[in-house]
């Protein structure tokens, strides 16, 4: 009889465990809703205004002292080190201008840099808090002095923004920090926005940027795709985009309004809330195992006397 109850107990414990994991999956579907903070800092990039001069790219490398910048990199054919044309964001490139050309008439530039998400996946996954989101400004920043180089942030970022220095023995992650400790601190504006000669990059608070973006959409409805990219993508981003071509053609992925980090955190939280489940599991198992051991020991004594 005792045995039966133990078995029932076991079943119960097993079912609770599985139930919890399954419950996590279910819970993730129920949306808690994320608080969007429109006071945070960001940028609005208008692809229709961009002239593709790449002044932002070189300004970014200048303020960040990234190697591979105009004055640092020396390609084989470029003895003087005057030429730098990275083809993608990399361990030495935080922002990049690309041209997408469908035909002679239909083309668009696009600028890549960190989106400074409202609910950043990179912050959510970093195991040692090397990626952080600043409370007031909302800037997502990276600290190489705590980073262990696990590259989970790269896996998690839906925009493929964090880049790793694969070629270095002492590598780090590189990504745009909205000039937090460089130009923004010195001049109150990001370097890329400051140098843009065409006014394609507007620096400011998210709410102002959103107002401005919607105004532009209203003023010139034919010029734009009627969508502010980043307003709702992945829970919203502080870096916003306007363009005349569909955003996925410009290499900006289609992302559902729910932040991926919300989904995963909800499941993780359901399983590990207050660490109750693991502790409960441990004590239950201890209870069972100790009981089993006792039984076994008594049998040992009965059957294997003199066995020492």
């Amino acid at each position: 009889m005792k045995k039966t109850s133990r078995r029932d107990f076991l079943k119960l414990a097993g079912a609770t465990g599985a139930g919890l994991l399954a419950c996590g999956a279910g819970n993730a579907l129920a949306n808690e809703g994320l608080q969007v903070n429109n006071e945070e800092l960001g940028m609005l990039y208008d692809a229709t205004k961009c002239v593709g001069c790449k002044a932002c790219m070189s300004a970014c490398k200048r303020v960040n002292h990234d190697y591979g910048s105009l004055s640092y990199e020396k390609a084989k054919f470029d003895e003087d080190g005057l030429w730098d044309a990275p083809s993608d964001l990399s361990g030495s490139t935080r922002t990049l201008i690309k041209l997408f050309k469908e035909s002679e008439q239909r083309w668009s530039y696009v600028k890549y840099s960190c989106m400074h998400c409202q609910k950043p996946s990179c912050v959510s996954v970093c195991p040692v808090s090397a990626m952080t989101k600043e409370k007031v400004s909302g800037i997502v920043d990276y600290n190489k002095n705590t980073c262990i180089g696990c590259r989970y942030c790269q896996i998690a970022c839906p925009y493929n923004i964090p880049k790793f220095q694969w070629e270095k023995a002492v590598p780090q992650i590189v990504k745009c920090d909205l000039c937090k400790s460089t130009n923004l601190r010195e001049k109150g504006i990001s370097a890329c926005a400051e140098v843009c000669p065409a006014g394609a990059i507007k620096f400011g608070k998210r709410k102002d940027l959103l107002d401005e973006a919607h105004q532009r959409l209203k003023d010139a409805p034919d010029k734009y795709v009627q969508h502010v990219y980043g307003e709702h993508e992945g829970g919203g981003t502080n870096h916003l985009y306007l363009a005349s071509m569909p955003f996925n053609k410009l290499g900006l992925p289609e992302i559902k309004p729910e932040a991926p980090a919300e989904f995963s955190e909800k499941i993780q939280h359901t399983i590990y809330k207050g660490f109750i489940a693991p502790v409960a599991l441990y004590s239950t198992l201890c209870f069972i195992a100790v009981k089993n051991m006792k039984k076994h020991e008594s049998h040992d004594d009965d059957h294997k006397k003199g066995d020492k």
Binding site: L10, G17, A18, L21, A22, G24, A25, G26, A28, L29, S121, S124, V125, C126, P127, V128, S129, A130, K144, T146, C147, I148, G149, C150, Y152, Q154, I155, N160, P162, F164, Q165, W166, E167, K168, A169, P171, G251, P253, P260, S264, E265, I267, Q268, H269, I271, Y272, L281, Y282, L285, C286, I288, A289, N292, K295, H296, E297, S298, H303, D307, K308
Partner: protein, 444 residues
């Protein structure tokens, strides 16, 4: 408890031909590890910003630890489900787990870009409980420690009984000038022996609490290995991206664990020329289908729920890999439903291999094959990258071979042989050994 004579050391030489072959593979792998530390990860691997996790994470960590779950799976069986007849298998299972996890930890150190910062895991202000990786890292570290503790009795026993032949041989081999004087060495060794003698009973008393910890921790981190990819909702193919990832990974490691315990026992019986432990193996094998059936139903149910059945049957690249994974696990389990197959070493070997392969493929699918970071990214491991992984696996096998020769790990053949001859009688003995056997026996 007199468990020591349940196990025995393997007689025979350590330095065989296969030892040196394995050793050279290990050395080659370590050469590339050296290159990685001098020239950066990019110099040895094909990983990129699109595929920042390659086979080191996918195989060595995500799959390797599942394969190392033999210790976990058998421990559940022995200590929680009270099937003491499997106790003889546990030491070798724990040994493989110990190597599997230890080496997963080692490859993480190779894989991490800034490993010197890993101390941040122990600084509370840096803790980031939202991160599944934080959870995995702490659990894996704790579990590796627990595994060492669990294995300690084997080491202590052999220290206790040791006559230090090997040590003396080494001493004699050394040039007299370097060799310590015989008397002092004997004194020191005697002290070690007494220490072991003192420690063993004390350890035995608390061991069960570590053993249970050794069951709790894998439950946590194996499910978290699934949680790791939850966040990649835009990159992981919908066939695999589901909220059930943690549950699927947990079940997956349990059936891989039992299958590996079977494979391991068959392989070591074969290569060390010992009789097959068919009684235990078929018992283990009868458990596997329960777990796989749950796993398969969760997979199907979840796909149906998310309207992805069509995608699974589409016949494209992803569906091909999905079907392979699914058919391997399902096929392997089907074989195990047949009682005759469960009692044949060959069929057991085939079905267990299928299940391990399918289960491992599932993890590859989640971590690499189904992972698509966007246009223009490709990944296939480089030669050096593969050699590092192969070197690590070779080290694992090497370590296993050395350990089974040095310490009492494998089930004692004399005891075991007696069981074998008695055939049915063995089962009876097993039943008598428990106060209320009928319910356990009925579960079979």
């Amino acid at each position: 408890m007199g468990h020591s004579e349940e196990y025995q050391k393997l007689e025979g030489k350590i330095f065989t031909k296969s030892f040196f072959i394995l050793l050279s593979v290990v050395l080659l792998g370590f050469y590339f590890v050296g290159v990685r530390y001098v020239k950066g990860i990019g110099a040895v691997s094909n990983m990129s910003d699109g595929y920042p996790w390659g086979i080191w994470i996918t195989y060595d960590v995500a799959t390797g630890t599942a394969i190392a779950c033999g210790g976990y799976a058998v421990a559940i069986l022995v200590y929680i489900r009270n099937r003491m007849q499997y106790h003889p298998m546990i030491r070798s299972a724990i040994l493989t787990s110990m190597f599997g996890y230890g080496l997963a930890g080692f490859s993480v150190m190779v894989d991490l870009g800034r490993p010197w910062n890993a101390y941040n895991f122990f600084i509370p202000s840096k803790w980031q409980a939202n991160s599944a990786m934080f959870e995995v890292a702490l659990c894996v570290m704790a579990y590796s420690t627990v595994l060492i503790l669990e294995f300690l009795p084997a080491i202590l026993t052999s220290i206790e009984q040791s006559k230090w032949d090997r040590m003396n041989a080494i001493r004699n081999w050394l040039h007299p000038r370097f060799a310590p004087d015989k008397k002092t060495m004997e004194d020191k060794l005697e002290m070690v022996r007494l220490g072991a003698l003192w420690l063993k009973p004390r350890l035995n008393k608390v061991l069960i609490f570590f053993i249970v910890l050794g069951i709790t921790l894998p439950t946590m981190h194996q499910s978290s290995l699934g949680s790791l990819l939850l966040i990649a909702s835009t990159k992981l193919h919908p066939l695999w991206h589901t909220g059930f990832l943690p549950l699927l990974f947990l079940l997956n490691c349990i059936f891989i664990g039992y299958s590996i315990a079977i494979l391991e026992s068959i392989i070591s019986s074969y290569s060390f020329k010992r009789p097959f432990e068919i009684e235990e193996l078929s018992g283990l094998a009868s458990l596997i289908p329960f777990v796989t059936v749950i796993w398969l139903s969760v997979v199907i149910g979840d796909l149906a729920h998310r309207n992805q059945i069509a995608a699974a049957l589409k016949g494209d690249f992803y569906s091909g890999w999905f079907m392979t994974e699914f058919v391997l696990v399902a096929g392997g389990s089907l074989i195990l439903f047949v009682k005759k197959c469960r009692r044949s070493a060959r069929w057991l070997f085939i079905s267990a291999s299928m299940i391990v392969l399918g289960g491992a493929l599932y993890r590859f699918n989640v971590y690499l094959i189904g992972f698509n970071p966007g246009q223009g990214w490709k990944y296939f491991p480089s030669f050096a990258e593969i050699m590092i992984t192969v070197g690590i696996v070779a080290l694992e096998i090497l370590g296993y071979k050395v350990f089974v020769a040095l310490f009492p790990v494998l089930p004692n053949m004399d005891l075991h042989g007696a069981h074998k001859k008695k055939g049915h009688a063995k089962k009876h003995k097993g039943e008598q050994s428990k106060p209320l056997p009928q319910s356990e026996a009925a579960a079979h």
